[in-house]
């Protein structure tokens, strides 16, 4: 409800003050009312005393008259002689003289005779009849629902023969004249007891006072025995009432004097005070409301400002808060400002870090990828990205240290920035700096790449050293349907790799050479699916035993006939399978298939040694070794694992143990592609191989290059001296074959002998060979 602090504070203060104001008002009203009641009560009591006094005087006056009459000899004689006419006239006479309304004669027998001859009601007669000489018989007397002030005088002649009674009606005008004696305009009424618990005022004088309420009030007041003014609720509003017992003619018919004074009149003198108090209270309340609102505002305004600032900070906008107080909120605001500026600084740093290379402070790859987006699809030309790679960076870094190597890259970046301030640049990886520009066409882009090479390959001085920098440049241009502009950067780096692989200074990205990395991943899953669906098949390249002069084995090569892409060369998926760990599954399949086909070939009467390529990576895989050995069990033919050098053997100890297990199982071990890459003498030292395959790089030009021939010859000799048979790969000419044979090479493999072929063709080839076609050196 009061979700706002300001409202809550205001309401709280207002409620507190209002409550205390109410309490104060209640107390004030109580005190004033009490005082008024007491004041009026005193007045009423005084008035009651005056009334009693007046009544006593009137009674006495009437009493005197009555006494005079009752002692009048003539009257007494008339009474004694029961001279009714005389009695009545005498009564009338005196009643008129005294101003009494009614006069009665009451006999000793209780008989009542009215002076005016009117009948007297039985109740009244009973009361009159109770007159006794013991009583001081005067007081209020009710006749026909109207109270009278009555006195009685005994008629002594000389003994008591009866009473003469004079009664003065206490009507409105009579009471009014009494009321006027009081200093306050009170209301005086005589209430008589009509029945126990039922008090009545004269007919027509109820004045809004409920009979039941009056009865209860009178009874309560009489019961307390104290004459005290009290509240009496009437239809015309609250009033202060005082009940005084009145002397009555007969105790059996009590009557009281009820003096009433309206509460409103009683409070009238205090009205100004009350109004002033209420006014001051309300004014104070208004002031407090306004004051607490203002206070709350002054408290909450800085908080609101802070909240707004927090919102701005959240949105990354400037979030400075004005500090204009020195209180807690002021401290909070200044702390907030400090925090906000720190956050912004940190944010800027993080943003900078996200977009820059911490080592060189050059923009990073992500920065370049973002910055080239607006450059894409430029009207003046195509977006081009060059990746400038420092050649042999690892060696350079090893020579000059990490710090200087980073400085070197930084220097190249600085140069680029200096030369081409308009083009965004970035450090794409440790040794690669990228630059993006707009080229008119592919030719101008390539010219730019060459120009960059020229500009940057000047010697750099770093500290005391002068370093010659050799660079390779990969170039990628925005294609026609390049969805992702950022991928141009990636393609530039790939082009760089391609250039390095091709030992070129610059290369434009060749999509044909490099598959889309995204599609490469799907290629792997397709490869696994292809294994199950029979898309893979084996080709066999015969190996000619030069000594026996016949084909004694084949190298098993995998082929993938993709339903959509057609035949996919192993170069496309074997390295990828090695990288992604799928080579094991692939090799298992090849092995199983090779064994099946070996059996088939054997069935056709040819016993061939099956050579299966085995990635050096798999030598560390104990699981694969177990599976291979299991497959080999019971296989009749001979099997050779040609260990390729595509990957570094991670753990030579495990690899050698695996090799020993293979050898123990009768599997021949061949060192493939000897002479290039990683196949070195170290292999020969470590691996207890059976065969050495000389890489085709040495064999292809053996008939032209004397040097190659020397290398092959010495290798053959080396192998033989180590007890290995030698296989030459890439034998394509008869000259080469004869040279190899002359060098003592044991086995030849190459297009001269046969291309890799499917099983069916191999069987035919073997059949032809068996039928007499004999190749000879």
């Amino acid at each position: 409800m009061f979700s706002r602090l300001r409202t809550r504070l205001t309401v709280l203060y207002a409620a507190l003050f209002g409550a205390s104001l109410l309490l104060l008002s209640a107390a004030l009203y109580g005190v004033i009312t009490g005082h008024a009641v007491r004041e009026v009560g005193d007045q009423l009591t005084a008035s009651a005393t005056v009334f009693n006094r007046i009544w006593a005087m009137r009674s006495q006056q009437m009493q005197e008259g009555a006494d005079l009459l009752s002692r009048d000899f003539g009257f007494r004689e008339a009474v004694a002689s029961k001279d009714a006419a005389t009695i009545r006239s005498a009564l009338d006479n005196l009643a008129g003289r005294l101003g009494a309304d009614r006069a009665f004669i009451v006999g000793m027998d209780g008989q009542v005779a009215s002076a005016d001859g009117k009948p007297v009601s039985r109740t009244a007669a009973k009361v009159l009849g109770q007159l006794d000489q013991d009583q001081d018989a005067s007081g209020v007397f009710t006749l026909d629902g109207a109270p009278y002030q009555a006195i009685s005088a005994p008629i002594l002649s000389p003994t008591l023969t009866g009473w003469v009674v004079f009664a003065n009606k206490l009507d409105r005008s009579e009471m009014g004249s009494l009321e006027r004696l009081s200093s306050i305009p009170l209301r005086a009424q005589v209430a008589y007891q009509a029945a126990p618990g039922s008090w009545r005022v004269p007919v027509g004088e109820s004045e809004g006072v409920d009979a039941g309420k009056l009865s209860a009030f009178v009874d309560t007041e009489l019961a307390t025995g104290k004459v005290r003014a009290r509240h009496l609720a009437t239809a015309a509003g609250a009033s202060i009432a005082l009940v005084t017992p009145l002397k009555t003619l007969s105790t059996s018919a009590p009557a009281v004097l009820v003096l009433r004074y309206p509460m409103s009149l009683a409070l009238e003198p205090y009205r100004v005070l009350l109004e002033a108090a209420a006014g001051v209270g309300l004014l104070g309340f208004a002031f407090l409301l306004a004051g607490s609102w203002a206070l709350a505002r002054s408290v909450t305004r800085p908080i609101t400002a802070l909240a707004d600032a927090v919102g701005r900070l959240q949105r990354g906008e400037s979030a400075e808060v004005e500090v204009n107080t020195r209180d807690e909120i002021g401290h909070l605001a200044s702390s907030f400002n400090a925090m906000a500026s720190e956050i912004r600084a940190r944010e800027a740093k993080i943003t900078h870090l996200a977009m820059h290379d911490p080592e060189t402070d050059l923009p990073n790859r992500r920065s370049l990828e973002e910055r080239i987006v607006p450059m894409a699809d430029a009207a003046e030309g195509r977006l081009a990205v060059v990746a400038l790679g420092v050649d042999r960076f690892a060696h350079v870094r090893g020579a000059i240290g990490f710090a200087l190597a980073a400085a070197l890259i930084g220097e190249i970046g600085d140069r680029l920035r200096l030369l081409h301030p308009a083009y965004p640049l970035a450090r794409l990886s440790t040794d690669v700096v990228g630059l993006a520009f707009i080229a008119k066409d592919a030719q101008s882009a390539q010219r730019m790449a060459v120009r960059l090479l020229a500009e940057l390959e000047a010697p750099l001085s770093l500290g005391d050293n002068t370093i010659d920098v050799s660079l390779t440049v990969g170039l990628a241009l925005q294609g026609e349907h390049d969805d992702v502009v950022a991928s141009i950067v990636e393609r530039a780096t790939i082009a760089l790799d391609q250039a390095r692989a091709a030992r070129l200074k610059t290369t434009v990205f060749d999509a044909g050479l490099y598959g889309d990395p995204a599609s490469n991943l799907s290629l792997m899953s397709e490869m696994l699916a292809g294994l199950d669906q029979g898309q893979m098949l084996l080709h066999h390249q015969p190996k000619l035993d030069l000594r026996a002069g016949k084909v004694t084995g084949v190298e098993v090569l995998i082929r993938w006939r993709h339903p959509g892409r057609g035949l996919i060369v192993p170069d496309r998926f074997i390295p990828m399978a090695e990288e992604t760990g799928h080579i094991g599954a692939l090799t298992e399949w090849v092995l199983a298939r090779a064994l099946e086909e070996q059996a088939l070939i054997r069935h056709h009467g040819h016993d061939l040694t099956m050579s299966v390529n085995l990635s050096g990576r798999l030598l560390g895989d104990a699981g694969f070794a177990a599976v291979a050995l299991e497959m080999m069990r019971g296989a009749p033919g001979k099997l050779v694992f040609e260990i390729t050098e595509t990957a570094v053997i991670d753990n030579p100890a495990i690899a050698l143990k695996t090799i020993d297990r293979f050898k123990a199982a009768g599997i021949g071990i061949s060192i493939d592609d000897y002479g290039t890459g990683l196949s070195s003498l170290a292999y020969l030292k470590q691996i207890q191989a059976d065969e050495l395959k000389i890489d085709k790089a040495f064999v292809l030009k053996i008939d032209e290059s004397h040097r190659d021939a020397l290398l092959v010859r010495s290798t053959v000799d080396l192998a033989h001296s180590l007890g290995l048979t030698v296989t030459a790969e890439g034998v394509e000419t008869a000259t080469a074959l004869s040279l190899l044979a002359g060098m003592g090479c044991d086995v030849a493999q190459g297009y001269l002998i046969a291309r890799p072929m499917p099983l069916k063709e191999l069987l035919m080839f073997l059949g032809e060979e068996g039928a007499g076609r004999r190749l000879s050196a």
């Binding site: 006494d67 002692r71 002689s81 002649s157 000389p158 003994t159």
Partner: protein, 209 residues
């Protein structure tokens, strides 16, 4: 002593039936003796036929603005003297139905007489002095007397046997201000009765003005 002598005389006169003495003690409701109560006794057979008179004078004097005595018992037919012994004049009257009368103003050392033939109570007043009140009880039995200050009365020589004992007082709360009781007197001796009479206070005389 005189009473005793009288009792002896009565005993000598009536030797055939031994008369009894009737002693009555009257108290009010609070046990205080009541004076001026008139005790009368009516034998069942009727009283003596010959006229009788009481030993006290038949006189209602006015002295010190008071009647004296307050209560006077006289037989029917007695003439009562009303001597004025005050220096002021009095006007004695009675409205009592038994014998209404009025003695016009008369002065010091003057005496008026009134003969009361009818049995009853005559309330006396003075028209000049309201405080003067007295009563004359006219009886038709010789066995009558008023109580003394001790509330005692002794009636001599009442014939034994059944009779009616009556006690009258001007302020007695009873019908006709009189109590009545049937008693049976023994042969000779003293018959004692203690009676309780509820006496109201006399009417207040307001002389304050």
């Amino acid at each position: 002593m005189r009473n005793l002598l009288f009792a002896v005389l009565v005993a000598l006169v009536a030797p055939c039936a031994r008369a009894a003495d009737l002693q009555v003690q009257v108290h009010d409701a609070k046990g205080r003796p009541v004076r001026d109560a008139v005790v009368t006794y009516y034998p069942q057979g009727g009283g003596p036929s010959e006229p009788f008179r009481f030993e006290w004078p038949y006189r209602m004097a006015q002295q010190n603005l008071q009647f004296d005595p307050f209560v006077l018992v006289v037989p029917a037919g007695a003439t009562v003297a009303f001597p004025n012994r005050d220096t002021v004049r009095h006007q004695v009257y009675s409205f009592s139905p038994a014998h209404p009368f009025e003695l016009k103003l008369y002065g010091r050392d003057e005496t008026r007489t009134v003969k009361f033939d009818r049995v009853g109570v005559i309330a006396l007043g003075c028209n000049i002095h309201d405080s003067m009140v007295a009563f004359i009880k006219v009886v038709d039995t010789p066995f009558a007397a008023k109580t003394d200050a001790q509330g005692q009365v002794l009636l001599h020589g009442a014939p034994p046997g059944a009779g009616t004992l009556r006690i009258w007082h001007p302020y007695l709360k009873a019908r006709g201000n009189e109590l009545s009781e049937e008693v049976s007197l023994p042969q000779g001796g003293v018959f004692r009765r203690a009676e309780t009479a509820d006496i109201r206070s006399p009417p207040v005389r307001r002389n304050a003005y």
